[in-house]
Amino acid sequence: MSSSGSGASPPRETRVLVLGYGNPGRQDDGLGPAAVAEIESLGLRNLTAFDNYQLNIEDAMDVAAHDIVWFVDAARTGPSPYSVRVVSPQPIIEFTSHIVRPEAVLAIASQCYGASPQAFLLAIRGYEFEFTEALTSGAKANLSAALAMLTERFRAVQAQATSREAI
């Protein structure tokens, strides 16, 4: 399931995980998976990206094996083109298994694996959520802006790692 290890030993380099989730068959709900597809194409070192229809409890294993985690989801409301907030572990129980929130995944990663990665929720604004397999033009533009921000951050993390190696 994960390409990474258990996270038992300290990392030499910062490992970044992107979890993009949503349904590409529901228009802009596919922003998360679309972000993952773009990020994978960057080929950045120490960066792992997975997509899924929704978060699941076993994502905690992957989360625990990384130092920085980006949860990427579509947003029905909120600012355009995107918003970013820090996410902290918080055990949350829902009324259906069709909802698992980033906070719950982080809480399981903390409890089961003793892992507390830095975590962010990137909410990319979407506009239409009907049964169609394509992002709207507005969502595509928001995705581009979000990816530019993410890429800059990833490259900054890599630059820090490279400078540490040089020292």
């Binding site: 349904n23 068959g25 709900d29 997509d51 229809y53 399981i108 409890q111």
Partner: protein, 483 residues
């Protein structure tokens, strides 16, 4: 997190949902003139427009496309659509390899989905108790008290997903099935990897059942009465009456266990079921055609799967079934909380079935596809993790889908969920306040069925649960939102 805010008139308590209502779980409880609970409705939005989305697609595309329906059960839709398209392709019997690898995938899927429901959703209420503090009544609280549960939850889920990946080529969006067969067999490498873990998975499922039974033993009255009522049940069973989650004939039984119908081929479902539309819900209300609307509703899912079958064909699950059915004192088991016990037995059965299949050499066969003469219609049923799932398609001479009808598990349980919510409201509502306790008890009742809500669309801002209390004239007395 819940929040509450008093506004406007003194008797009216309102929380405005932060986003549009579509996609929310919404409960409305209406009181009569005497202030007693008269009606409870659980409104959810589901699959609106999906049937139209499929129209015009080529029939062989459909098993892949329908995975878009549900983030939790894409495999169930994949397999059900594939079975329906087998019929369209003129194929009534698959090769042994194709049939068995589909079964392997299905049982792996049901195993991991049921594990998610039990461990993540239900275990906090069941293992810590309804009375446990809200801040602790969650999966983390469970792991603190029962450290092994976290391990079981994650590794049983992971194992089920490994089965899906091994059979479908990938964990997400598997592409095993094509009309008339499958794309691949099970490689020896994948088989051997799964064989290493399967005994442990069976053992953990059994241990989880024993842990759950300890809760039942200490809460017998609550377990029997909470949100409970006698009902009819429906599921498919094998031709021999045994539990079969992948293929079989429809059986419905009444609350006394007597058959309403049995041996019904999926293709004949319209002779036995009718789908009713009600003005206040997007969901359809299916009921048994030979009975009226008031008496023809039924329950599906693990409890129905246990009540409807005559036996389970794997030894550990069969022993567990006998133990479970003793709860009914010679009759059926009607307790709504017994869904969870039944779910654990299904998990054991799935794990045992996966183990059996992993030692069946047919899975390495190379005869994968059968062809036949095209037909204009295909209907199929599987028992998905949440119950009976039906796909019905009509296809034109060019191979394009002209119509589709899906009856999903949550739709089948629609009336039952309403009745469970009403039972909770009758038992736990006092005065005109929607308390934290009432909200939680409503959630516990709904969790037993684990409904799909506008499946596979989970954009931020959605999926809170809203409970509204109305007076006899429909005026809002109180509203409480869990977000």
């Amino acid at each position: 997190m819940t929040d509450i805010e008093a506004v406007r008139a003194p008797r009216k308590i309102v929380i405005d949902p932060v986003t549009r209502v579509e996609g929310h779980g919404k409960v409305t409880i209406r009181l009569n003139e005497a202030g007693e609970v008269e009606q409870a409705r659980f409104h959810i939005v589901e699959f609106r427009g999906f049937e139209r989305f499929i129209q015009g697609r080529m029939y062989w595309e459909v098993p892949v496309i329908v995975q878009r329906l549900c983030g939790i059960c894409p495999v169930s839709h994949h397999l059900c659509a594939a079975k329906a398209m087998d019929v369209v392709a003129g194929v009534d019997k698959l090769t042994p390899t194709a049939e068995k690898i589909r079964r392997l995938m299905h049982y792996g899927q049901v195993l991991q989905s049921n594990a998610l429901n039990f461990f993540h959703l239900a275990s906090p209420d069941l293992l810590l108790g309804f009375e446990a503090p809200v801040a602790r009544r969650n999966i983390i609280g469970v792991i603190e008290s029962f450290p092994e549960v976290g391990k079981w939850a994650i590794f049983i889920r992971k194992f089920g997903q490994q089965v899906i990946a091994a059979t479908g080529g990938r964990r997400i969006h598997p592409r095993l099935c094509i009309p008339g067969g499958v794309n691949q067999n099970l490689s020896v490498e994948n088989r051997d990897a799964l064989r290493k873990d399967v005994d442990q998975i069976v053992k953990w499922c059994c241990e989880a059942l024993e842990l759950h039974k300890s809760f039942v033993r200490s809460h017998e009255k609550l377990h029997e009465s909470f949100a409970s009522f006698p009902s009819s049940y429906m599921s498919i069973v094998g031709a021999d009456g045994g539990m079969d989650l992948y293929d079989g004939l429809l059986r419905a039984i009444d609350a006394g266990g007597k058959p309403i119908f049995a041996g019904v081929r999926p293709a004949d479902y319209r002779d036995y079921l009718i789908e009713e539309v009600r003005s206040w819900s997007y969901m359809k209300f299916p009921h048994i055609r030979s009975l009226d609307r008031e008496n023809g509703w039924y329950r599906v899912g693990p409890l129905a799967q246990l009540n409807c079958c005559d036996f389970i064909g794997t030894p550990i699950a069969e022993a567990a079934r006998k133990d479970f059915m003793a709860l009914g004192r010679g009759g059926l088991v009607h307790a709504t909380l017994a869904y969870h016990w039944a779910r654990l037995i299904c998990m054991i059965h799935c794990a045992e079935t996966v183990r059996d299949l992993l030692f069946d050499d047919d899975l390495q066969g190379t005869d994968l596809v059968v062809t036949g003469e095209r037909r204009p219609e295909g209907i199929a049923i599987v028992e998905a993790p949440r119950g009976t799932l039906l796909h019905h398609y009509e296809v034109d001479d060019h191979g394009q889908v002209t119509s589709a009808n899906l009856i999903v598990s949550t739709t089948n349980n629609n009336e039952a969920m309403n009745r469970s919510v009403k039972k909770v409201a009758v038992d736990y509502l006092t005065g005109h306040e929607i308390t934290e306790g009432l909200l939680n008890h409503i959630e516990v009742a709904i969790r037993a069925y684990d409904p799909c809500l506008s499946c596979a669309t989970h954009a931020l801002g959605d999926m809170p649960l809203i409970v509204t209390l109305e007076d006899a004239d429909g005026a809002v007395i109180a509203r409480r939102l869990k977000q």
